[in-house]
Amino acid sequence: MKNSEKSKGKRAFSIGQWLNVIGPVLGLVFVFVLFSAIGPASFRTGRNLETIARQTAITGTAALGMTLVIISAGIDLSVGSVIALSTVVIAVLLNLGVPPLLAALGGVLAGVACGLVNGGLITRLKVVPFIVTLGTLLVVRGAAKGIAHEQKVDAPITWLNSLLAALKPDKHWMILPAGVWLMVALAVLVWIMLRYTKLGRHIFALGSNENTARLCGVPTDRVKLIIYTLAAGFAGLGGLMQFSRLTVGDPTVAAGLELDVIAAVVIGGGSFNGGEGSVLGSLVGALIMTVIRSGCSQMGLPNWVQEIVTGSIIVIAVALDRLRRRRSA
C-alpha cells in the first residue's frame, strides 16, 4: 500500500502520460496483427513497413505541430492548405534556379508566415482559432493556386525528391528514408520541449486553464503566437515531404489532410478541451491510420471501405479512451 502510494505520487505525471500512450500503442499493435493475419503476405514484408513509414511522414510531421495546438486547447484547420502552398513555393523557387536547400527552406518559411498570420489574428483580434484557421484554410489555398496559376508546377529533379522516396538498394543501411528520420528527430525535439522547457509547461497550462496561466504570469498571447507559428512551420515541412513524393508543386494537394492530422492527435490521446496530448501518441495515431489504409488497399478493398473503417476507428479509439478515463476517475 505504502509502496504503491509512493510510486503514484512520485511520478504520476509520467505514469499518466505513459498510460495515455499505451492505449494507442495497443491499438496500433492490434490493427497491425489483424492485417498481418487476414491480409496478404506482402503486408508483412519489410518493404511494406518502409512504405507505411514513408506514407506516415507527412501526416506525422504536421501532427507534431497539431499536438501543440490541441494541447493548448486550440485548433488549426489550415495545415492542408499550408502543405499545398509549401509544395508550390518549393517548386517555384527551384524553377528560379534557387539551390534545393534554400528552396526547401523557402517552403518551410512560407508555412511559418502562415502561422504568424494565424497566431496574430487569434491573439490580436480575439477571434477563436476555429474561425481564424477556417478563414486561412481558404486564403492560403487560394494563394497557393494563385502562385501556381491554378496548375501543377513542374520542377527539376533534385536530391529533395529522394527525401521520402523508397530507399535504393545501396542505401539500405539507413533502414528508413531521410524524411522519416527527420520526422523522428523532430518528434524527439518536440517531446523534450513539451516536457523539459518552460515553454512546454506553459503550453500545457494554457490549455488546461488559460485564466490560471494568465494569473501566473504566462505571456499567453506570445505563447499562442509561438504555437501557431510552430504548427504551420511543421506543416511547411510536411509540404517539403509532400513535394518530395510528388516531385511537383501541386496547389490542390492535401485537401482535407488537416482532418487526418487532427484525427492522429486525437487518437493519440489529445483532448479538444486542452491540457492533454502527447507527441508519441500523435505519431502512433498517424501510424494507425496509415496501417489501416495500407492493409485495406493490399487486401484489395475499395476506397470507400477504407474510409468507413478509418472513420469508425477514430470514433472507437476516442470512445475507448474516454471510457478508460471515466473508469480510472
Binding site: R11, A12, K198, A205, G217
Partner: protein, 489 residues
C-alpha cells in the same frame, strides 16, 4: 434518514447516520469539508444510492433512483454552484424539463401561471418571468433556483452552502424567504460552514465528523463554541492569531486608481509587516481593484507604485516585482485543476529548462510545510478537497517568495481547520520573517467580517467602486463596517 451508510472503495464516507426533520422546520447539517454532508444529501436527492439504511418521507420508505424522481417526490436540492441556463429567461429556467405541452407545443399560459405562483411565494417582485437569468445578480439567480423547486411543489428543500457567494444584505433577504417557506410547512435542510448563520436560522442541527454523527441538538441551547468543538473534535482556542507586528517600509501605494469595470477610485498604502483588509459587498469593486493592481485588468487612470516601480502592469511583471495574487475563483482561475500539484505550485516560477524531478522535490517541501493532504506532487489538484486546493494556490506564492500577497477571499469554501491554518500562515508571513529577510505584506479581500477583524491590522471599505480610508482594527467593528459598505455613512 436512518442508519445511512456509504462506502467508496476502501473509504467509509458515511456510517450509520440518522436524523429526522419535521415539516416546517429548518434543520442544519454542519461539519468540516469531507465530513460527509454532501454525500448524505446526494443520497437524499437520488444522485447516489446508499449501501445501507433507509429514508422515510412522510412516513413512507423513499428510495429515489435518480434526482428527477426525488424532485418529483418533492425533494429539491440547490447546490452551491447554481445550475441555471444563463441564456434562458427566468420562466424558461423554472419550467425547464417539465414544460406542459399540447401537440408538442408549450402551453405558455399554463407556464406563466405556474411560474407566477412560484415567484409570488418568493415575494420578490423584481424577479420577472421574462428576464434573462444572466441579467440577474447571483442572489436573485439563487431565488430563481428556489422558485424552480417551488414550482415542482417541493416539500423538502436542501440548501447547500447557500450564502457563500451572497452579501450580508442578500443573506438577510434569503433568511426571510427561508422563514416564509418554513411557515408554509416546507422542511428546509441547511448545510453551512457559517455557524453564526446556522444559529440564526436553524431550529435544530446535526454535526457530522468523518462520516458519523458527532453531535446534535437545538441551536438555541448550544453555543457556537460547542458546535465548533463537535465539528473538529477539539477546541480551536485561537482561531485568529495575531502576533506583535511592526510595520516597516511602504511596499505598495495606490493613488486615485480607476479601472474600466466597477473600480471608480481607490487609494491606499501598504507597508511590510501588516495585513490590510478590504471589506465591502460582493460586486462593490473589491476584486476589480486587485485585478487592476495585478495587471489582469486595464487601468483607466491613477498610479500604482510597487516598491520603487511605477510603470505599466502585467501579471508577469508583478510576479517579477515579487507580488502574487490568489484568485477568488479557485477552479476557474486560481488553479489549473486538471494539472498536478507540482505543475500548479511551480507555474509562476519556471526556469527555461524544467526538471520534473526538481519540480517534485520543491512540491514535496511545500506539501509537508503546508500539510497538504494528497498522495504526492503528481496528484491532480481536482482530486483534493477545497482546503487543500487553497493551500496549493497559496503555496505557489510562498514558493515564488513574493513580498506582497494579494488575497481575494482566501478562506472561501474551505473547512474550519484549513481556515485556521490559513490565518496562522498569514500571521506568520507578516510577523515572523525568515532570517535576514524583511516581513511580507498582505492585502486581503473578504466578505466575512469576523475574519477581517480577526487578522487585519487596518481595514478599508469598498462601496460602489470607491475605497474608503483604511482604519485601524481597534477603531472599527462589524456594525460600522457594514454601514460603510452599504453606503450609509
Amino acid at each position: 434518514m436512518s442508519g445511512i451508510s456509504k462506502r467508496f472503495g476502501a473509504t467509509v464516507a458515511l456510517s450509520e447516520v440518522s436524523f429526522s426533520a419535521a415539516p416546517g422546520e429548518v434543520y442544519a447539517l454542519i461539519g468540516e469539508n469531507g465530513a460527509g454532508k454532501s454525500t448524505l444529501m446526494k443520497i437524499l436527492s437520488g444522485a447516489i444510492t446508499a449501501d445501507a439504511g433507509q429514508i422515510f418521507l412522510d412516513g413512507n420508505v423513499f428510495q429515489p433512483k435518480n434526482p428527477m424522481e426525488a424532485r418529483l417526490s418533492g425533494v429539491v436540492m440547490i447546490y452551491q454552484e447554481l445550475s441555471l441556463a444563463p441564456h434562458l429567461s427566468v420562466e424558461d429556467n423554472i419550467m425547464l424539463g417539465m414544460e406542459p405541452t399540447r401537440l408538442c407545443l408549450v402551453r405558455r399560459g399554463e407556464v406563466r401561471k405556474t411560474v407566477e405562483k412560484a415567484l409570488a411565494q418568493l415575494d420578490h417582485p423584481e424577479i420577472r418571468p421574462g428576464v434573462k437569468v444572466s441579467d440577474l445578480a447571483v442572489a436573485a439567480q439563487q431565488l430563481v433556483e428556489i422558485g424552480r423547486g417551488l414550482a415542482l411543489g417541493c416539500r423538502v428543500l436542501v440548501l447547500d452552502e447557500p450564502t457563500s457567494s451572497l452579501t450580508q444584505k442578500d443573506i438577510g433577504k434569503l433568511f426571510q424567504i427561508i422563514t416564509e417557506l418554513k411557515n408554509q410547512g416546507i422542511t428546509i435542510l441547511y448545510i453551512s460552514h457559517f455557524l453564526e448563520e446556522v444559529k440564526q436560522i436553524a431550529d435544530r442541527f446535526t454535526v457530522l465528523r468523518d462520516g458519523a454523527v458527532a453531535g446534535e441538538g437545538e441551536t438555541e441551547s448550544n453555543s457556537i463554541e460547542q458546535m465548533v468543538h463537535m465539528m473538529v473534535g477539539r477546541q480551536i482556542e485561537e482561531l485568529y492569531p495575531r502576533s506583535s507586528r511592526t510595520p516597516g517600509d511602504t511596499i505598495l501605494q495606490l493613488n486615485d486608481l480607476a479601472g474600466f469595470n466597477k473600480l471608480e477610485q481607490a487609494g491606499l498604502t501598504l507597508r511590510r509587516g501588516e495585513v490590510l483588509g478590504i471589506a465591502g459587498l460582493v460586486g462593490s469593486g473589491r476584486t476589480d481593484l486587485l485585478r487592476a493592481l495585478f495587471g489582469l485588468d486595464r487601468v483607466k487612470r491613477g498610479e500604482i507604485k510597487v516598491g520603487a516601480y511605477l510603470g505599466p502592469a502585467s501579471p508577469a511583471r508583478r510576479w517579477m516585482q515579487s507580488m502574487g495574487m490568489l484568485s477568488e475563483d479557485r477552479a476557474g482561475e486560481g488553479l489549473a485543476v486538471a494539472m498536478s500539484i507540482a505543475d500548479n505550485l511551480t507555474l509562476s516560477k519556471l526556469k527555461a529548462l524544467v526538471r520534473p524531478s526538481q519540480q517534485d522535490a520543491v512540491s514535496r517541501h511545500w506539501i509537508s510545510e503546508l500539510s497538504i493532504k494528497c498522495q504526492g506532487p503528481g496528484q491532480k489538484v481536482a482530486d483534493l478537497s477545497g482546503g487543500n486546493q487553497q493551500k496549493v494556490a497559496l503555496g505557489r506564492m510562498l514558493h515564488h517568495e513574493v513580498d506582497v500577497l494579494l488575497l481575494d477571499e482566501p478562506t472561501r469554501g474551505i473547512d474550519v481547520a484549513s481556515k485556521a491554518q490559513v490565518y496562522k500562515l498569514i500571521d506568520d508571513l507578516v510577523s515572523r520573517p525568515e532570517k535576514g529577510r524583511a516581513a511580507k505584506a498582505v492585502l486581503m479581500v473578504s466578505s466575512y467580517l469576523p475574519e477581517l477583524l480577526g487578522i487585519c491590522d487596518r481595514i478599508a471599505v469598498m462601496c460602489r467602486g470607491r475605497l474608503g480610508e483604511a482604519r485601524p482594527v481597534a477603531e472599527t467593528n462589524e456594525h460600522k463596517l457594514m454601514l460603510e459598505a452599504t453606503g450609509q455613512v
